[in-house]
Amino acid sequence: MPLLSDPIFGQTMITLMAAIVLVLQITLVAQKSLVSSIYVFALQSFLLAAIAGTIAWFTGAGHIYMAAVLTFLLKSLLLPAILIRLVEQIRIEHEMKPLLNVPVSVVISGMLTLLAYVVAEPLQQQMSFGSPSSLGHNTLPVAVALFLIGFFLIANRRKALSQVLALLSLENGLFLAAISLTYGMPLIVELGVFFDVLVAVLVLTILVGRIREAFDSMDVTRLSRLRG
């Protein structure tokens, strides 16, 4: 199967999937429903796992398979499940009002993508494409954009839980960067990162629950007693 061993094909696939990931990220910005956001996130994570799998396939590195599988299990199955369960458990309103309205947010996301390109472009100029060793390098701007948009998303969300989700999507950007630039971090590091992400979500969800109990709301704009 020459197609499946043609690095150009791999490159094309990865580029396509990365583009979809970026679109999904912007969808997250525009999304108002919490539950749908979680599904979007799960889809995004799945695509990332697929990118990782593709790279693993073409480079034949075992630890990237591992990363792909872990991503798939953790980010597109386990974490969304935990979040969905939490949403149902504490019966929070599904509607999430961002601080800035959707059109403005989307425009800002677009600008951030542009900025990501500006930042990553000089790096890309120094890269060589087309060889297996550079597979996926061209997704660096996407990774930076995911990161920036994720950051923006955290700052733009009122609900505690949606901030957690945004933090996770930001993390996805990092994963994309790691996987595309260096074919994943060393496995032991990668494992540690996954573990941390898992614990972070657990910790944050517990906190969300307690905040909800204490404040009768998940709106973090209410958390403004500590000043000066």
């Binding site: 601080l99 900025l115 500006v118 930042v119 000089p122 920036l148 950051f151 923006f152 955290i154 700052a155 733009n156 973090v220 704009t221 958390l223 403004s224 007693r225 500590l226 000043r227 000066g228």
Partner: protein
């Protein structure tokens, strides 16, 4: 003992005693912190240490050259590196000469609760303060100097706030601390500039380093150091802490503060102007001279307006700092124009006045302490007639008052006389602007000194003479023997430093040799006539000893005649002329406020006096039942400087608090914007 080892041994002994006293006080404080007897016991360490320090200073001054000792620096840069060079030794001597009587005085003084609730701790702090001062004067390393400097500040602060239960005390201590720190900031920067340029933190290596720096940096460092040390010295307009902190401190502490703590500023200025800078352009001397003139004149003018005895003395400290700086400034100008001999005279004048001021101001504060303790008030308007209740204190205070007024034959006269000679010598030897500055400064010095005399007529007259103005004053009693001993020592020092000035002047030989390469006593002393003299081009001589003896003789002759005569004429005690009204009472007396009224009116441009008289009438406007009189003057320039700065800062700070308004979105936005900015501008550059 080998004389070469005398100074180091005594010096080490002094420091050990001070520090041992302090450490011991910490232990004793834990054991029995309120025991006055233990507090007194700790003071004995200060007393013994001061005696050792006096020996060290004297021994070091007698022998030529400097003694150095250094321990290797720690990893953090701290180094015990000390040096007894002539300048250090002189200040050490001044410290000891004051600390000794003050310690003695304290033995009796603290028995009446002057140290507040933890007397043992405070008495230990006095030891710490003395140790810090000794180290300030002898440090040979920037870091040791600064450590000692701030340790002295901390010790002074906690001594000043001994009775911190009162708001006024807290405020005074706070002002002291705040301004000290601000001054220290300037000193840090200045010393850093010097030491980085010299490539060393050793004072030895800093000698002359200032002049080796490039022009602008050299000037900036000089100004920073001068004004930094000026804060400590109380140079107007950086003086605001002085009248706030001196009055509220226990009087033995006030005495040390005024006598020697502010002299650390003078030490710094002397060290900087004459050692770290081997040459300075004339403007630097003009700055110092101007600071001296302004401080001297405004200091005494504001002292005149005071009726708080201790505040009055505090303002006089500013005045005397001004006189010292006139000497220094003159010396710097003369050095700039190439007259090292005259510069040496000026330096000696300034240093001599430093010591003299320590003696008489220390004495006056101790006397004030005794008076304040007996009358329970610092307000002179409630004193009066104390000369009958406290005759010894009154006598010692009188000696101090005469000395501070610069009257012959006491020590104040000697140093002011030298300063006059310096200012006179500067005229015609220097260029156009400065040649006028010198005699102008001389005229202002004359005004300052005459006003000081007026002020002490007031202070002494209102406090000690005439009728008591309050019940407390009427029932005052003479103070404890140890307190009197302390004052007697200082009074004696004022007299001896005056009469023995020609001999004492030789002490400055080492200093002038070190800093200006000339021996001052060759030019300025004539032992055959027991006189001090000014070297050419403006000669002149004065012999306080001869003047004193002649005065005594001329006074004694008529007095003896009078004693002989007295048996034959009738002397009767009679009432004072009271315009025929019934019995003179204390309310007829001139008040301190009244005494200074004419000066208040004459200098109203400066004082902007405001007064308010509110009579209350019952039946007819001719018979007021009650009259309220209020009078105040505008505080000295710079008195509100710190509060203006403080207010502006606080307003700004309040506005800046909006940064932290509790919104996590804002917080995230800060980071996000920072990130974007750095990505935009940081990566490509």
């Amino acid at each position: 003992m080998d004389p070469a080892h005398a100074a180091p041994t005594a010096y080490g002994l002094a420091l050990s005693l001070f520090l041992a006293g302090w450490l011991l006080s910490l232990v004793l404080h834990v054991w029995r912190g309120t025991s006055l007897r233990l507090a007194g016991f700790v003071h004995w360490f200060a007393l013994a240490g001061s005696a050792a320090a006096a020996a060290a200073g004297a021994a070091a001054l007698v022998q030529d050259g400097s003694w150095r000792w250094a321990a290797p620096a720690s990893a953090a840069g701290f180094s015990v590196s000390v040096r007894l060079d002539p300048l250090s030794a002189f200040f050490l001597l001044a410290l000891a000469a004051l600390a000794l009587p003050v310690s003695a005085y304290s033995l009796g003084y603290i028995r009446h609760g002057a140290y507040g609730r933890s007397p043992v701790l405070r008495s230990g702090l006095l030891n710490l303060l003395l140790a810090a001062l000794a180290l300030i004067f002898t440090a040979n390393h920037v870091i040791l100097f600064l450590v000692a400097w701030e340790a002295g500040v901390a010790a002074s602060y906690f001594l000043v706030t001994a009775s911190h239960e009162q708001e006024e005390t807290r405020h005074g201590g706070w002002m002291f601390l705040l301004m000290s720190r601000a001054g220290a900031g300037m000193i840090y920067i200045g010393l850093l500039m010097l030491s980085v340029s010299a490539g060393s933190l050793d004072f030895d290596r800093l000698s002359g380093a200032g002049s080796a720096m490039p022009g602008a940096a050299s000037a900036a460092a000089f100004l920073l150091l001068f004004f930094g040390f000026g804060v400590k010295a109380g140079v107007i307009p950086l003086h605001a802490w002085l009248p706030a902190a001196h009055p509220v401190a226990p009087s033995n502490v006030s005495s040390l503060l005024s006598g020697i703590v502010i002299k650390t500023g003078i030490y710094g200025i002397a060290r900087v102007c004459f050692d770290f800078y081997s040459a300075l352009p004339p403007w630097a001397g003009m700055v110092v001279l101007a600071a001296g003139v302004i401080s001297g004149l405004l200091g005494v003018l504001y002292a005149l307006m005071e009726h708080d005895l201790k505040r009055l003395l505090a303002f006089h400290s500013i005045e005397n700092i001004g006189i010292i700086l006139m000497g220094f400034g003159g010396g710097m100008l003369l050095r700039s124009y190439g007259y090292p001999k005259l510069a040496a005279l000026a330096l000696a004048a300034g240093l001599f006045h430093t010591l003299n001021h320590a003696m008489f101001k220390g004495l006056l504060f101790l006397g004030a302490g005794a008076v304040v303790h007996e009358t329970g008030t610092r307000n002179m308007e409630e004193m009066g007639g104390l000369i009958r209740r406290m005759p010894r204190t009154a006598l010692y205070f009188l000696v101090g008052a005469v000395a501070i007024s610069g009257l012959p034959p006491l020590n104040g006269f000697v140093s002011e006389w030298l300063t006059y000679q310096v200012l006179l010598a500067g005229f015609g030897t220097t260029a156009e602007v400065t040649r006028v500055a010198f005699p102008a400064a001389g005229a202002m010095l004359a005004l300052t000194a005459a006003l000081a005399a007026a002020c002490f007529v007031k202070a002494y007259g209102i406090t000690f003479l005439a009728l008591p103005r309050s019940e407390h004053a009427r029932e005052a009693a003479e103070c404890a023997p140890s307190m009197r001993a302390g004052m007697a020592w200082l009074a004696l020092a004022c007299i001896l430093l005056g009469l023995g000035a020609p001999w004492f002047m030789q002490v400055f030989d080492g200093v002038t040799m070190q800093l200006l390469k000339t021996r001052i006593s060759l030019a300025a002393v004539s032992l055959s006539t027991a006189s001090i003299q000014a070297p050419p081009p403006r000669t002149g001589a004065a012999s306080p000893l001869a003047l004193g003896l002649l005065l005594a003789a001329f006074g004694l002759v008529p007095w003896i005649l009078w004693l002989l005569r007295r048996r034959r004429v009738t002397t009767a005690a009679g009432p004072v002329w009271d315009c025929g009204l019934p019995a003179l009472s204390a309310s007829n007396e001139y008040t301190a406020t009244g005494f200074s009224k004419s000066i208040r009116m004459i200098f109203s441009v400066i004082f902007r006096p405001r007064r308010e008289i509110q009579p209350r009438f019952e039946a007819s406007p001719y018979f007021p039942s009650e009259i309220r009189f209020e009078s105040e003057v505008r505080p000295a320039p710079g008195a509100s400087l710190h509060s203006a700065v403080q207010e502006a800062l606080l307003r700004l700070a309040l506005r800046m608090r909006q940064i932290q308004a509790g919104s996590i979105h804002a917080y995230l936005a800060y980071i996000f914007v920072t990130l974007l900015l750095l990505l935009l501008f940081g990566v490509r550059s």
